[in-house]
Assembly symmetry: D2
Homo-oligomer: 388 residues x 4
């Protein structure tokens, strides 16, 4: 612990009342004491933004009415006062503009997934990130779990042999009924093509599943065959889908993402099969990692145990058996990002482990996935190439 380390000054775009993910980002930023929330444009409604900010103990003059105002005004503040990182937690259609503007004004960016509204935007944003040299984190939460990181390490070590098969699934049930016109904030924008983009469930949770599969396996999807459905009458975007996958090493896979699986909560699950063994991780039991072998007993790896890789254990806070969950996984992204930001500000190279958070490449691939599944689902041909 560096005794004199100051907190990073954080601003937030979006995340006012009714936001689920805004509150999550704020808790994630607080858990490890690395950030101080100093300003926000919490809503496009000025009064709502102000009230939200005051509730968060933010000075009234740093509760802004728009992201444009926030970025512009913060940029004029003295360096020792102005925000250093901006978190963007708005619906998908308000990802690109604030992210571009923030980068152009010299702010590091944390952005909720999916990266943008379109793949074209994602490309422009990636280019901007590259140009500015600023840091960028895309909050694919599930890669923040210690046991997901351990899974990646095990695959990478080669002990499972070449990867042959990947199953990833993300079943939810909360959109089983036509919630979107009943005042349900989350349902409302996530099912609206004007705010969510060309995909519904595939953009919202399919991208998480896709990212998780690629992160753990270290492979890339090269082609896919998708079947997207609108199950609930009146809905405008897919609320269900399944995708056959081909990976760059010849492995194949299946991705299932649905929001009409009545009774399901949020049990994203990944299985990766190699020649000699396999890993299985599921969100419902996030602190366990099952490793199965062809010729010896299956093993249960557990969060924080001494036998884990440091990549995994550096992302825990309490001893084994004291469960950490979603908020801590999210906090891991924030902490690793903070370490990199601190390093950059101090002119140092970040440690390799700190770089273990999703960024521009993951964002680009996610958007390419979204465009590919929508195109494939509409096509009569079986296979569709996934290209960034």
């Amino acid at each position: 612990m560096n005794a004199t380390k100051a907190k990073i000054r954080l601003g937030m775009i979006g995340g006012g009342e009714g936001s689920f993910i805004g509150a999550v980002h704020r808790i994630a930023a607080r858990i490890d004491n690395e950030y101080e929330l100093v300003c926000g444009a919490f809503s496009s409604n000025a009064e709502k933004s102000l009230q939200s900010g005051l509730g968060l103990q933010i000075d009234a003059d740093r509760c802004y009415a728009s992201f444009q105002e926030m970025i512009e005004k913060e940029a004029t503040l003295p360096t020792e006062k102005r925000m250093q990182v901006v978190s963007i937690v708005t619906p998908n259609h308000v990802h690109f503009e604030p992210a571009m503007l923030a980068l152009e004004n010299g702010f590091h960016v944390i952005l909720d997934k999916p990266m943008t509204f379109t793949l074209a935007e994602a490309k422009l944003l990636s280019e901007k990130i590259r140009e500015t040299g600023l840091l960028f984190c895309l909050t694919h939460t599930y890669t923040g779990y210690p046991m997901v990181k351990q899974a990646r390490e095990i695959v990478k070590s080669g002990t499972l042999g070449s990867i042959r098969k990947i199953y990833v699934e993300y079943p939810q049930g909360w959109l089983s009924t036509f919630l979107e016109q009943s005042g349900h904030t989350q349902a409302s924008w996530r099912t609206d093509p004007a705010r969510s983009g060309i995909a519904g469930s595939m953009g919202d949770i399919g991208t998480h599943a896709f990212n998780l599969a690629e992160y753990v396996s270290g492979l890339h999807v090269t082609a896919l065959c998708a079947d997207l459905n609108i199950v609930v009458q009146g809905r405008k975007l897919d609320d269900d889908g399944a995708v056959l996958l081909r990976f760059n090493n010849g492995a194949t896979g299946v991705l299932m993402a649905t929001q009409i699986a009545a009774g399901e909560e949020n049990n994203i699950k990944l299985r990766v099969y190699g020649e000699r063994g396999s890993i299985e991780w599921k969100h419902e039991d996030a602190n366990s990692l099952l490793v199965k072998w062809t010729d010896q007993p299956a093993q249960i790896y557990r969060t924080g145990a001494a036998y884990n890789s440091s990549l995994s254990n550096d992302n825990t806070r309490v001893p084994p058996g004291h469960p950490e969950g979603y908020l801590e996984a999210f906090a891991n992204l924030y902490r690793n990002f903070a370490n990199c930001v601190q390093a950059k500000m101090n002119g140092k190279e970040p440690e390799a482990a700190w770089l273990d958070f999703p960024g521009a490449e993951e964002g680009l691939r996610g958007m390419a996935f979204v465009e590919a599944v929508v195109a494939s689902s509409a096509a009569a041909e079986k296979w569709y190439e996934l290209k960034v």
Copy 2:
């Protein structure tokens, strides 16, 4: 209990040394004391057939050198002595001929799945069953589990609402290496197109998954999109595959069957989602049935509990908490079939519950599934119609 009921006289074709499924059929036939094994053509090798039969306490003169000999000679025995039911437990290429011959000679037939080598054979065999009016059971074991039956009853009751989504998976790992030329009996024939047919894993276990999904949901697959793979080098038939499904009520689904999932045993699992709730059953925990709801706590149904339907509870033998397994599920098929055979021999109508075993229709649909997945996998078009 009928105090004077005699056992049914059973003959067996196949099931000599090295056979896995032959021994299973015999245990299944013994558990409920409904059958007496009186004869067999346990192998196409006469000496091996004799030795196998003697080991089973069968008279030497009823240990036959071929199924033709057995059926021919048994047919000439006095009615009170000759076999009444024949179990055929040979590899797939020896299903059609003995089944046809048995029916033509007046014997009821129990046949291991898949029904035949080709769909064309299955059609002829179905026609023969219809013509003769004899009884026919196809041993899709998983439908014999009490909790699978309970799942079917719950779906049928309508409390889940219309079915929208079905996931069925059957992961095995035992063919992860090139076993077939190492003297492994099971691997040898199951990967051999000359004995197994046009499909490997899809015929062996994909048909079980397909049958389970249709049995529980009460729906029929109408179209599919398959991706079959030969993962292990040198293998001649698919050892892995995934299939997107469309059902006759508009529901969709995914079927995954693989034998190269390193570390997996035999954990066939089914999830069926309706508008208001869903069921989940997995072989690994076969005596539990999970029922999830959108608005109340999930429930765990358990084998033999008083709240189950009689269809389910009539297929158990011991009180709740005393686990029954694969052999008992298999025995349920045998017992229900026995009840029907007894009724028929006594000129009575069977009770409806006794008819709850897979038969010709399930066999036909299984073969249609096999032909459709193989054709679909080879096709460039996405969807392929499943027709019987």
Copy 3:
């Protein structure tokens, strides 16, 4: 498999209509085709015994009106016809007499637990077994499970280090209400001191838990401190109890047995902790064995996997992932006993593995446990010595 091996001729005492355990013994005897049930005194009511026997395809003249009649008459039959083994499946107060009589007449005995009505009887019976040199099996079912045997092997191997702590529990809920006067056969005799003995739950299921703990650990209980309760008003015997244990190596433990644990089925569970690791087995997931370590990932051993000891795998019938359950565990006792009987009849030494079934010593210790827990529960002193 020995091609010329004849089945063992089995007689049964008890097990007529309404008996739970009689049916279980018969299925266990059938599963591996080692026995033929040739006679029985299924009830002390002659007509009921006859009807039960006929329903089992037994000749009317070998359906006896009493165990005395059966043993006497069978003893006069030609050796090639008369029964060879007798299974006694009556309530506890009818264990001693028929077992003694059977032994005196030269029959091997399979006896349901607990061994006798009193410890004094158990001593006499043990003496008789020793004198006659006949074989004796006490059906403590749970030691028949392959994963229980594997647990024993692991403890025995020493890899866990010295055993320090043992928890064994057996929670049931079926006696949560006052069933015994509502015509419930099982409840009626199991709660009746005249038929069950001085203990209720402790005799019925506590003895199973005690036996399981001693079997797996290889240790002996030397002293205990018991608290038995009659929870349901009007009941005459304990329906609940907990016992602190001391073992002969200095380890301590806790045994919990209850039949008023509302909602529980039959989930007997054992945990044995050594210096470096521990095992955990529970009936609910009988085909898994959890092995936990201080310094490496926990392992899941699974029934039938190639890495198991032969002692374990010789007690399975189907490949890993095809669950075997309670009836198969029971059948393992019968099969191992059959192997020993066959060896004895052929004048051969049994293989060591065949001797792995509970016998007179386990019976004696179980009765000593029953007497000790009842005495301890009534005592004001904390510790009570367990002596055989």
Copy 4:
């Protein structure tokens, strides 16, 4: 959300480098943004306290060298600046003095468990709390879990009927070896009678188990029979124990707490059985609550689901299926306490739900438990009365 609510100013005693629980308290205080850590006496070593405080962005002049100094100096600061609540996270022998001093100087107190070094101290401290009218929270973490609260609500509702049996267990394995002289901070003080008190494991984790059982059942232990052991050679305090329990309504129970259960992490588990059903909660799957019934399927309650009581759901932050864990349970104690502190400062009555955190009574009972188990373990008589 109250837009103008200021954070509570928190001071901390203990929790410097090497402290496990100090870091936990700080995260708990941060998660819901209710507290600002403004000062601390993090160590009795002045330099270490300073360095720890600076690392936490605390002003150097509020990093104190001793708790006496901190309380004395803070008490002299202007009311709008001085700390309002003090968290005491020191080893047990440094609980009583700082807590008394804090109360005497007008500070609300959060104290880690067990309450004090002796029961006598606990009585004095309770009296002081009563006298001053200040607020007091004892951090028995497990009562902070939403599903534990739901369990309490279900028991309280009476649907399970009268409670008859309680099993509570807390197995850990981390003291399986003689860690205490190897520089392991936690092991060092927790096994030292001079710092931990008369009990080792029973004080450290037995008190948690005791508190959990009483909290959920709403019952009080009236007598007990304990067997404490020192398993690891050289250790000075119990590292293992089991306790038979009697409750004030006639129910009985068993409490098991051990730190030498090799391979166990921290899986505290509670089962409470009533006449008609039971609840089961375990830390390993903290977001599920199993409710079993005698006559209907078991139910799985899940954190955050709409069907839960508000007492439960008010203690969650994210939607069902996004696991919350140990830190969030801890944060629930801090948040509920904060709500009460805010109410008190504003001269308002707290809402009933905010009072749902452990306090003086729980602390007293815990210390009475510690003294009773130690006395009972040394006694030859079976039962020992638990008196506060």
